[in-house]
């Protein structure tokens, strides 16, 4: 009798867990499916290769793709070196202690700050105070600060995962600590660092509020870093918010979603190759 109850419980638990998984996958499928069904029909070569006309009611989204890529490149160029350097310091040089705890707490807190606050800060500090105006540069600086915690955390974990035997082997050959980090530790950690970079790119592509506040929403081609630019996410927000064109908003969303899915697939591939090699 007791055994039968246990079996029933087990079956029930399985059913509930299975149901929850179904809800998660269902939500994902519903959102992606909905956006693709609504958006894909509006996507053609013209949509991807022409600039928006009439505030985006007509034409394509080329300038917003350019602005998005520009912003991604800018944010990574700033946050990449700083984040990796910071991760090296945290993982390889900082001894456990109060400074380490403060640094860790700082990075964690930065990760939890809502993006709109980064936007407000960027608007005040870069756009107004530094006089950079609404520009790709202001946006890149703001987004760089926003993705730093993700980068630092991913890079630090990747560096810590490098087996100590590599470090010892290198040191025992007469390499300095710096040489060991540059020539052995970083190359081994690179796949992990890259997956952090890709996750960061995803955040930059999707960010709206902070970008609107710092990079503005000009529809023209951004050429210089001091030009304002409208990213795809901002474009889609304005299209929908100001009721300019819902179909165009959906098509822009579809392109965005495909990009995010592609990036996630790439991140997974890089990470799994990393694990297989160990």
């Amino acid at each position: 009798m007791r055994v039968r109850w246990a079996r029933l419980e087990e079956g029930l638990a399985r059913a509930v867990l299975w149901g929850c998984l179904l809800v998660v996958l269902g939500a994902l499928a519903a959102i992606v499916g909905h956006v693709l069904v609504q958006g894909l029909p509006g996507i053609d070569v013209d949509f991807l290769t022409t600039a928006p006309r009439a505030s985006g009611r007509e034409g394509g989204i080329l300038t917003t793709i350019v602005a998005t890529l520009y912003l991604v490149a800018g944010a990574l160029a700033i946050a990449g070196p700083v984040g990796i350097a910071c991760a090296i310091y945290l993982a390889e040089y900082l001894r456990e202690g109060s400074l380490e705890r403060i640094a860790r707490f700082g990075v964690q807190t930065l990760a939890g700050v809502p993006s709109i606050i980064f936007g407000l800060f960027g608007f005040t500090a870069f756009v107004l105070w530094l006089g950079l105006g609404w520009s790709i540069l202001s946006g890149s600086l703001t987004l760089a600060a926003m993705i730093l915690p993700t980068l630092v955390k991913a890079a630090e974990e990747a560096i810590r995962a490098v087996p100590d035997s590599y470090r010892q082997g290198s040191l025992a050959l007469g390499a300095t600590k710096g040489q060991t980090i540059l020539r052995v530790v970083l190359p081994v950690a690179m796949p992990g660092i890259l997956s952090g970079v890709i996750l960061s790119i995803g955040r930059v592509i999707g960010e709206t509020a902070a970008v609107l506040l710092t990079a503005g929403s000009a529809l023209g081609f951004a050429v210089s870093p001091l030009d304002s630019g409208r990213t795809m996410a901002v474009h889609l927000y304005l299209l929908a918010m100001e009721g300019i064109s819902v179909p165009k908003a959906y098509s822009t969303s579809a392109v965005l979603i495909l990009l995010v899915v592609g990036l996630n697939a790439l991140a997974t591939r890089i990470t799994s190759r990393f694990t297989v090699r160990r």
């Binding site: 087996p163 035997s165 470090r167 010892q168 040191l171 025992a172 050959l173 007469g174 390499a175 040489q179």
Partner: protein, 268 residues
């Protein structure tokens, strides 16, 4: 100073003084407050193999790592006493630790080739010294691999990942990597413990060949291995050096009852 007895039981000290490539004087190594190596004074005779034996945790690996200052990598480790290389203290501030480690190379318990090609592994120590010339690198890499008795097995796969090699090949690759920087002393920390019997035999042959050019110190758990490969044996227990002398005498006529108990397998 420990009493060193020769083959016929006569003191050897004066003779060893001349032939010592390295020697320690009252060497102590602490991990935090734990004294892991206690006042060890030991010569390392030039162009010979010195085996360090003793039960697990007796401090023999720690002692070995003190000879090229690799204990400094471990937080909380502290060394006292002197370690002389050709008569100069290796703790002398004017001596560069990277240079010391190039002169006193190390082979670890687990083969640890870097995740790069066979060639890049062997060339690593040269490149960090700034050697870029292709012909020089090619020549030294080939010579080192030949010296480590690995050339014939890897000459067609120099560009392949070193991680594809077998455990025994990896350990010989690591030895080639050490040989490439022309060390004077090679420290080996249980180099055969992760290897199968055939690979172990090859490694022992290699060690035998290498002592013509190099001075070797090997830590081993395996009593028969110590007897086979070494010329000198030091027995350690609880961080102390119990007995040191020619391997033949240590194994046939140990002067300390604890040494005898250990080599006859009564403990450890």
């Amino acid at each position: 100073m420990i009493n060193v007895l020769g083959r016929q039981g006569r003191p050897l000290e004066g003779q060893l003084e001349q032939r010592a490539k390295m020697r320690t004087e009252n060497l102590c190594v602490y991990y935090g407050s734990l004294l892991a190596v206690k006042y060890v004074s030991l010569p390392v005779v030039r162009h010979s193999v010195t085996a360090l034996i003793g039960p697990s945790g007796c401090g023999k690996s720690t002692f070995l790592r003190a000879l090229n200052r690799m204990n400094e990598v471990i937080p909380g480790a502290r060394t006292e006493g002197r370690v002389l290389l050709d008569g100069h203290d290796i703790h002398d501030p004017s001596l560069d630790v990277a240079d010391l480690r190039r002169r006193v190379g190390m082979v670890f318990q687990q083969p640890n080739p870097f995740p790069m090609s066979v060639y890049d592994n062997v060339a690593y120590g040269l490149r960090i010294q700034g050697i870029r010339d292709r012909a020089t690198l090619d020549r030294i890499v080939e010579n080192s691999l030949r010296e480590a008795a690995l050339w014939d097995e890897v000459k067609d796969r120099m560009r392949r990942s070193a991680l594809e090699l077998s455990g025994g090949q990896q350990q010989r690759l690591v030895i080639a990597r050490v040989l490439a920087v022309r060390p004077e002393v090679i420290l080996m920390d249980e180099p055969a413990s992760a290897l199968d019997p055939v690979s172990t035999a090859r490694l022992e042959d290699l060690i035998h060949d290498l002592k013509r050019e190099y001075t070797i110190v090997i830590v081993t758990h395996n009593m028969r291995q110590a007897a086979r490969v070494s010329d000198w044996t030091a027995f350690m227990l609880n961080g102390e050096l119990i007995e040191y002398g020619p391997t033949e005498r240590i194994f046939t006529n140990p002067s300390d009852p604890r040494t005898e108990a250990y080599i006859t397998g009564r403990f450890g």
